[in-house]
Each structure stands twice: as structure tokens, then as C-alpha cells.
């Protein structure tokens, strides 16, 4: 199996991009990645695109063909990968496996979602199709509701507080202020979060990630060819993916995501590292409770201590284990199919030392954690500097 490196990354602005079409978004992210890698597009051998639901959001399926066509890259193979909000992470993993296997050399892993062309209630309906329709959606569940159940149980079992949840959002908004691509480059306070409109108790509006348009792209190469394109290749040292029941009610526990434990274990093992070796991580904070569960399940703190660790500032930039330096899904925005790739873009920039005011000094090893639905699919990657 060959070692795989990231040689170029590209990200669009995230936000309500009413005047930018789906295809233009994807081409913008792709063009930036190609420019970043300094590569000729003709050298690209294959593409994987993470996208949850273009069919529901813009009534366009067969987006792999659309994108490879408009990128001017026919006839290379292009494949759409769907795993709800983990579509991006899954696309990255497929691209990594393809390069590692030796089938292709230069492979694009991209992600995109265009979510603001439909009304908010239609977006909520589209997103809940990532849950079990018969057992969850048809009886009225929505994702805020599902994560609120987890939050309530976490509060009950471990004494996690609404203030601790709020601190996740405050931190991620603060980080987003230093990310020019972020949707919300504005500070918020704990009071702002606690006083924001109730969504599903105990989650308020500012506990929830937003509806976002955006696209992200990374370009992979075998590590032994990476230096043709970059002086700072970032090695994808470990990749892990795991599955769990699609419905929340079939799980053993509500206070964690078992697929995160398993995917992390696989990625750590492959990379030959443990949670204490990780310098920073981009985790799937679709709701504030999700970040608290993620840092526990990834082994950055004890189970049940996530809220307190956040309160102690351990997850802030400059803290023990900086989490979501990009702003995370909460501050940077959450175009669902793009999120997993955008996480890899952030870790790459951090490990290269190119993250500007949000730079984690001396970062050597980073991790990405991408969750589909309420935890039915989880993809974890461990990345390290290649020099």
C-alpha cells in the first residue's frame, strides 16, 4: 500500500451564496486547489465528490458527470459518494484508498452542498432523510431533536450544563473570526447563545450549525511523487471508517457515538499514534453537544468530561488540544457534503503553518472527524507533516 499525501487544497467562501450556482461553487474550490498544487489539470486521473443531496436541494442528480464535464476533465472517472453529512469524509477516504492501491496517482477529493436555494423548512426535511425515515422522520424527528435527546442524556449522566454547550459555540465563532472563508466572522457571548431562540430544549439557535452553501477540494498524490508539486506535502497517515445503527433508539448509549470510537481506533492504529499525539482536530460540531461527545469519543478527554474540558479552555487555540480552529461547522458553516473535505483543508493549512491568526504553533499531527446523520457513519483521518 502506497503512502498518500495532500498536495493542494481549495475552499470557497461559505455562506448564503445566492448568486453562486452549484457548478460555479465546485469549480471555484477546484481551481483554487489546482492553483495551490501548481498542477496541470490534465494530470488529474480521477475524482471523488462528496455530496449529500443535490437532488433535493437543487433537483440535480448525476452531479459527478456534471462536475467532471464543467471542470473540462472528461473522460476521467468521477464518482459521487454519499453518506449524509459524512459524504465529504467518505469521498476523501475513497480517494485515499484509490491512490494507496496504485490504481490512480493524482486524485481529487471534493465536497459540495448548495443548500439555500430552497426554503428553510424544505432544508430541514431534506436533512432528516439522513435519519431512519420509518422509525425517526415519519414520527416527527428532526436532527436538532435527535441531538437534543443526546444532550439531555449527557446532561443527566455527567452534569454537562447549557453554559458548557454555549462555550463550544462561543469558541468556534471566535475561531471563525480569523477564517476569511467562514460564514460567521463575528464573536458571540455565552449570554447570546443562552438567549437565542429555542430550537429543541436544551438546544438554542446558536447551539446549531447553520444552513450553508460551499465547496471544498483537496488533491492527493502518492507521497513519492508529492514533491513534484509541493515542498510541504501533508501525509494522510491514517484513515478509519465505521458504521452504527442509523436510528438513535437502537444504540447502546445516547451519550456518545460508538462509530467515532471505532473509526478513531482504526485511524490511530494505521497512523501509529494515539489521541495524546494529536496537536489539533477538526471535529463534527453540527450541534454544540456533538463537539463535546466527539472530543470524548476521540479520546481527547475522559467520557463525561467534554463540557468541563471546554469550560477550562482546553479546546481553544493555545489550549491543550485546539478543536475546530477553522470555526467548525458552527462558525465556518456546514454545507453538508463539503464539510468533511473542508476539515481536511483546515488541517492541511495548519500543518503547513499557513493558518494565519488561527495558527496552532508547531502543529505536526492533526485529525479530522466527520459524522453522517446521528452517527450511522463516521470517518476519521489522521494527517501529519510529510517532512
Amino acid at each position: 500500500m502506497r503512502k498518500v499525501a495532500i498536495i493542494g487544497v481549495g475552499l470557497t467562501k461559505f455562506g448564503e451564496l445566492w448568486d453562486v450556482s452549484f457548478r460555479r461553487l465546485m469549480l471555484e474550490a477546484g481551481a483554487r486547489a489546482i492553483e495551490d498544487a501548481g498542477i496541470d489539470g490534465k494530470k488529474i486521473d480521477a475524482m471523488y465528490i462528496g455530496n449529500m443531496s443535490a437532488g433535493q436541494f437543487i433537483s440535480q442528480e448525476h452531479i459527478a458527470s456534471l462536475i467532471v464535464d464543467h471542470a473540462g476533465l472528461t473522460p476521467i472517472p468521477c464518482t459521487r459518494v454519499e453518506a449524509a453529512c459524512a459524504s465529504g469524509g467518505s469521498a476523501l477516504r475513497q480517494a485515499v484508498i484509490t491512490v494507496a492501491s496504485g490504481i490512480h496517482d493524482i486524485v481529487v477529493a471534493a465536497g459540495i452542498e448548495k443548500m439555500t436555494d430552497v426554503l428553510t423548512e424544505q432544508t430541514t426535511e431534506a436533512l432528516i432523510t439522513a435519519a431512519d425515515q420509518e422509525w425517526e422522520a415519519f414520527v416527527g424527528a428532526t436532527f436538532p431533536g435527535i441531538y437534543a435527546l443526546m444532550a439531555r442524556r449527557h446532561m443527566y449522566e455527567f452534569g454537562t450544563t447549557e453554559e458548557q454547550l454555549a462555550k463550544v459555540a462561543v469558541k468556534n465563532h471566535h475561531n471563525a473570526c480569523f477564517n476569511p472563508c467562514a460564514q460567521y466572522q463575528m464573536e458571540i457571548t455565552v449570554e447570546d447563545v443562552l438567549n437565542s431562540a429555542p430550537v429543541t430544549t436544551p438546544l438554542k439557535l446558536l447551539d446549531c450549525s447553520p444552513i450553508t452553501d460551499g465547496a471544498a477540494c483537496v488533491i492527493l498524490a502518492p507521497l513519492d511523487r508529492a514533491r513534484e508539486f509541493t515542498d510541504t506535502p501533508i501525509v494522510v497517515a491514517g484513515t478509519g471508517q465505521a458504521s452504527d445503527t442509523i436510528s438513535l433508539h437502537d444504540r447502546q448509549t445516547l451519550t456518545g457515538i460508538a462509530a467515532t470510537n471505532k473509526a478513531a481506533e482504526l485511524a490511530y492504529k494505521m497512523a501509529g499514534v494515539g489521541p495524546n499525539d494529536i496537536d489539533l482536530a477538526e471535529v463534527h460540531d453540527c450541534f454544540t453537544i456533538a463537539e463535546i461527545m466527539a472530543i470524548e469519543d476521540l479520546g481527547f478527554c475522559e467520557k463525561g468530561d467534554g463540557g468541563k474540558a471546554t469550560e477550562r479552555g482546553e479546546t481553544a487555540i493555545g489550549g491543550r488540544i485546539p478543536i475546530n480552529t477553522s470555526g467548525g461547522l458552527k462558525g465556518k458553516g456546514h454545507p453538508v457534503g463539503a464539510t468533511g473535505i473542508a476539515q481536511a483543508v483546515e488541517i492541511t493549512q495548519q500543518l503547513r503553518g499557513e493558518a494565519g491568526k488561527r495558527q496552532v504553533n508547531g502543529a505536526e499531527i492533526g485529525l479530522t472527524h466527520n459524522v453522517g446523520g446521528s452517527g450511522g457513519t463516521v470517518v476519521v483521518h489522521v494527517m501529519r507533516r510529510g517532512d
Binding site: E16, W18, D19, T116, L119, T120, A197
Partner: protein
């Protein structure tokens, strides 16, 4: 241009419902709604009122102020998105009621909230080209907002009417120029046979209201080589209290120039009536020699901007009909059940 306003009138139904009363029914936080929309209460049409009766009230006030013989009115255009009939004009009802029939042309307009100002432009062209002596344009609405929709807090009723004629001794104000900005932008719509409109949430803001109002205002200022300092007052379409203040600020107007024509806090969004009732509120108090900027906005989308110079005639004429402030002050509060009955949500 040689045309101006020879008469104007407004009308607002007397019933009001407070934000608190609606919020109570839907379990929303009234303070949050009031802060978000910068709005206290809205007008509600009585059981026997519709866009036609409201238009007639405003038209009668305009005729009274103008002092003209209604038989000299050669055209009436009524803009509304709540015309009582899908087929059969509101304009003929108004024309008959003010005794302007039969020697005139008449038609109904629809361009969401700016159909009334589109009527003013039509009248300006017809008067300016000597096709008619006087033309009347009306913006009138009994606006629809679905129960529970954010629109329910603002969708109100009211009308404004303007009589356009050649500039002369009788002129209340001259219309210096007009400029329109129009694109196909689906931010808010109501399909045939549907009782309530749909809207694109925040999409109704930046790419819709703000883009069009700003573009129309900039276009007119550029055309006339004027700056916000040249205007005593500015009236913007007012779907809520927040948008006009924000758009005014972006254009370089100060709050003092906007507040006189900003009445949405007290009466709600009167849709086609909104910018015309706002203009009437300013004409009720402005002094000769003062210049007014009016910019309407209609979803779908377009804005009409006007530069209006107040003339000496205003002082003799404005007291001959009820003023906007009179209508605002003359109010009867109703609760949600009465509101539901008036809106015919309760049918026996």
C-alpha cells in the same frame, strides 16, 4: 419634468392588533419579534373593508385636497396585491365612487408592493404627453400573511392616492424625476388561487429589498446629480421598521430624514400603500422648498425612485382632508379572536 402632485390622500382602517397579541397565540417571544421587526402593532381591515373600499377612502381624500373636478381625471390606476376580484377591476369601483366616470381610462396594476408607484409613473407619462389633464394613482392593500407566518405580524391594511397634473399654482409638489430598477428576482410571491404568499426568508433582504432600493435610489441621485444632503426627507418602502432605517443609512441618510415618513411601527406594512402613505405623512408636514426622496419596492422585484419638491400649494390644501397622523391616532385595539373573525378565519 413639468408634472407634479395636485392632490394626495391616505386611509388606514381603525382596528389595530398588537405584536404581543399575535405572539401570545403562537407562543413566540413578543420582545424578540418587536426588536427584530422594529414594529409595535398593525392595522386590520374591518369586516366590511377591502382593498377597493380602502382605495375609495384614500381617493376621496385626494380629490378633496386637490379641489379639482373629478370629471377632469382622465385615468385611474389602482395598484394592489389584494384586489377583491381576480377578474373585474378595482379601478372602476373607485372611479364610480369619486364620480370620475365615464370619460376616463382605468385599470388595475399588480407589482407586489410597488404597483401604486408604477401607477404614478404611468400618470406622469400621460399628463406629460397631454393625453389627459389629471391622472390618479392608488396603492391599496389588505395584505395577506398566513397564520403563524412571520408575515402575520406585519401584513396590514391601508391606501395612498396621488393625483398627478401639470405643474402650476395649484401644485402641492412637483415631481422632479423618476428612475426605476427592475430584475426578475423571486423573493416573495403568491400563486393563483392561493390565499397566502410565500417568501424566501432572508432572501427577501439583501438580494431583493436592499439591492433594488439601493440601486433605484443611486440611479436617481446620479441622474439628478443630487446627494442625500439635498433632501429634507426620505421615504422608503417599509415592510418593517428595520429595513428602511438600514437602507437609509447605507445611502447616507440620517434618522432625522427618515422618521417622519416611517409609520410602519404604528400601522404595519400596508404593502402597495406603504411608500405612498409614507409620502402622505411627509406631505402632511413638509414645508415648501423641501425635497423628498421616495423609493418603493415591489417583490419580484423592482423599485421606483422619485425626487419630489414641495411647493407653496401644499399649505392651503393639506388641511382639507384627514392627515395620516389622524388615522394613526384613531384606533381601536382588537384581540386575536376578533382579528380572526375580521380576517374571515372564523366562518359561521
Amino acid at each position: 419634468m413639468e408634472v407634479g402632485i395636485v392632490g394626495y390622500g391616505a386611509y388606514i382602517p381603525r382596528y389595530r392588533i398588537k405584536v404581543e397579541e399575535i405572539a401570545k397565540v403562537w407562543g413566540t417571544d413578543a420582545k424578540r419579534v418587536k426588536r427584530g421587526l422594529f414594529l409595535e402593532e398593525k392595522s386590520v381591515p374591518g369586516l366590511d373593508e377591502d382593498a377597493a373600499t380602502i382605495a375609495v377612502e384614500a381617493a376621496r381624500n385626494a380629490v378633496k385636497r386637490s379641489g379639482i373636478n373629478p370629471q377632469d381625471i382622465g385615468a385611474i390606476y389602482v395598484g394592489s396585491e389584494s384586489h377583491p376580484y381576480a377578474v373585474k377591476p378595482t379601478a372602476t369601483i373607485v372611479a364610480e365612487a369619486i364620480e370620475a366616470t365615464p370619460d376616463l381610462t382605468a385599470a388595475d396594476y399588480e407589482f407586489a408592493c410597488k404597483a401604486g408607484t408604477a401607477g404614478i409613473q404611468t400618470c406622469m407619462g400621460m399628463v406629460g404627453s397631454n393625453m389627459i389633464k389629471y391622472g390618479m394613482a392608488i396603492g391599496t392593500d389588505t395584505a395577506q400573511g398566513a397564520p403563524g407566518d412571520p408575515l402575520e405580524y406585519t401584513a396590514a391594511a391601508g391606501a395612498g392616492a396621488v393625483i398627478v397634473g401639470k405643474n402650476g399654482d395649484q401644485t402641492i409638489a412637483s415631481i422632479e424625476d423618476t428612475y426605476s430598477y427592475t430584475t426578475d428576482t423571486p423573493d416573495f410571491w403568491r400563486r393563483e388561487m392561493r390565499p397566502y404568499p410565500k417568501h424566501g426568508g432572508r432572501f427577501t433582504g439583501k438580494p431583493a429589498y436592499f439591492k433594488h432600493v439601493l440601486s433605484a435610489a443611486h440611479g436617481l441621485l446620479r441622474k439628478l446629480q443630487l446627494t442625500p444632503k439635498d433632501f429634507a426627507y426620505a421615504v422608503f418602502h417599509q415592510p418593517n421598521g428595520k429595513f428602511p432605517l438600514q437602507v437609509g443609512k447605507e445611502l447616507g441618510f440620517v434618522k432625522g430624514q427618515i422618521m417622519l415618513g416611517l409609520i410602519v411601527q404604528k400601522i404595519g406594512n400596508t404593502y402597495s400603500g406603504a411608500s405612498m402613505v409614507g409620502l402622505a405623512a411627509v406631505l402632511d408636514q413638509a414645508k415648501p422648498g423641501e425635497r423628498i426622496l421616495v423609493v418603493s419596492y415591489g417583490s419580484g422585484s423592482g423599485s421606483d425612485a422619485f425626487s419630489i419638491m414641495v411647493k407653496d400649494g401644499v399649505e392651503a390644501k393639506r388641511n382639507s382632508a384627514p392627515k395620516v397622523a389622524d388615522y394613526i391616532d384613531n384606533k381601536t385595539y382588537i384581540d386575536y379572536s376578533t382579528y380572526a373573525k375580521f380576517k374571515q378565519l372564523l366562518v359561521r
